[in-house]
């Protein structure tokens, strides 16, 4: 035989009790409320049944995985070690890096042998090893012989003949 759940009209005390019962299970009952709660539950079967049910559900509360606090604090320490780039700091670090890059580019253009095999990056900062490397007569990677001195021109011719 199945029983139908009894429908008990809720009094204002019942409403207040059912609002407070979960707080008792969670351990956050306001001071002074325990006595009122206990007294009503003892006198009201419907609220007593609610209290028993809530205690049953509260027993299934999922607890925090072990070690979570340590993982959080480790995560915070890792984040603290990461460099923080503010606009000012970006400018402070960025300017010298940008200047070095421009210098490297410009130097590479002046020292480029023109063979284009590696776009000149491989020799960007290498010291010239022959007359061809002399910056006097290289403009944008191409020889520009106008204005080249006679001595340099003679050296160039000798290199070609070798």
């Amino acid at each position: 035989m199945t029983s139908t759940p009894s429908i008990t009209p809720l009094t204002p005390e019942c409403v207040r009790t059912r609002d407070l019962l979960p707080l008792r299970e969670a351990g956050t009952l306001p001071p002074g409320a325990e006595g009122e709660l206990t007294a009503h539950v003892a006198s009201c079967e419907a609220c007593a049944a609610e209290a028993r049910f809530l205690a049953r559900v509260a027993g299934a509360r999922v607890e925090v995985p072990a070690g979570l606090t340590a993982r959080v604090l480790d995560g915070v320490r890792r984040e603290a070690r990461r460099p923080v780039f503010t606009p000012a700091r970006t400018l402070l670090w960025g300017l010298p890096i940008a200047a070095a890059l421009i210098l490297a580019l410009g130097t590479n253009l002046l020292w480029n042998t023109g063979n284009g095999s590696d776009g000149g990056w491989g020799t960007a900062l290498e010291a010239p090893t022959s007359t061809w490397g002399d910056e006097e007569w290289m403009v944008a990677g191409a020889p520009h012989l106008g204005g080249v001195s006679d001595d340099v021109l003679r050296d160039l011719m000798e290199e070609i003949e070798r």
Partner: protein, 192 residues
């Protein structure tokens, strides 16, 4: 974070006091904040993701992010409310990334010291616990979160409303509807 202080004159400092001390470099205050709120954060995220492993990861990310941005906590709302707002964003982000289904994955209980059960009735206890958790996971999200936040963590209905993007009144209704549904599923023949 090397400075360590005791709380000699304030054995149970409130959140505002702990935040102030943590910002001052007190590592114990920081640890106390984490320990005090990690449970509600974890269970709240679990209520959204329905996956214990993912919830642990997101809870960790939430707490780390909150600590790193502690200076941004202005005190306009309760610290816990601020924390749960971060948790909600992190959990929603995780949902979007993983396109996680909302099916329950409560078949495995997370490892925890509290999961050590007494030998007698251990299997029955675990089965009952799983049954209750599966029922919880079947609730609509707002009801599930309202029940969890109220019953497991004792939040006020106002805080529950803030965490579920509802009014205080709606949070109360969601809680009671959730409890009623759980009773129908878990206790269909009435109180036993």
């Amino acid at each position: 974070m090397d400075k360590v202080t005791d709380f000699p004159n304030d054995p149970v400092p409130d959140d505002d006091a702990l935040v102030a001390r943590a910002l001052d470099g007190d590592s114990r205050a920081l640890e106390a904040l984490v320990e005090r709120h990690q449970g509600v954060v974890f269970r709240y995220v679990l209520g959204i993701l329905n996956d214990a492993d993912a919830a642990a990861d997101v809870a960790q990310e939430t707490l780390v992010k909150a600590i790193r941005n502690l200076k941004g906590f202005r005190g306009d709302a309760a610290f816990r409310t601020w924390l749960l707002a971060i948790a909600r964003n992190e959990a929603r982000g995780a949902l979007r990334k993983e396109k996680r289904s909302r099916e329950s994955s409560f078949d495995e209980l997370p490892e925890s010291a509290d999961d050590a059960v007494a030998p007698d009735g251990a299997a029955e206890n675990r089965e009952e616990t799983l049954r209750i958790r599966r029922a919880l996971s079947r609730l609509p999200e707002k009801q599930r979160l309202s029940v969890s936040l109220r019953l497991f963590d004792g939040l006020s209905f106002r805080e529950v409303g803030a965490a579920t993007d509802s009014s205080e009144g709606s949070a109360r209704v969601n809680y009671h509807h959730g409890i009623r549904k759980l009773r129908e599923w878990l206790d269909p023949e009435g109180d036993r």
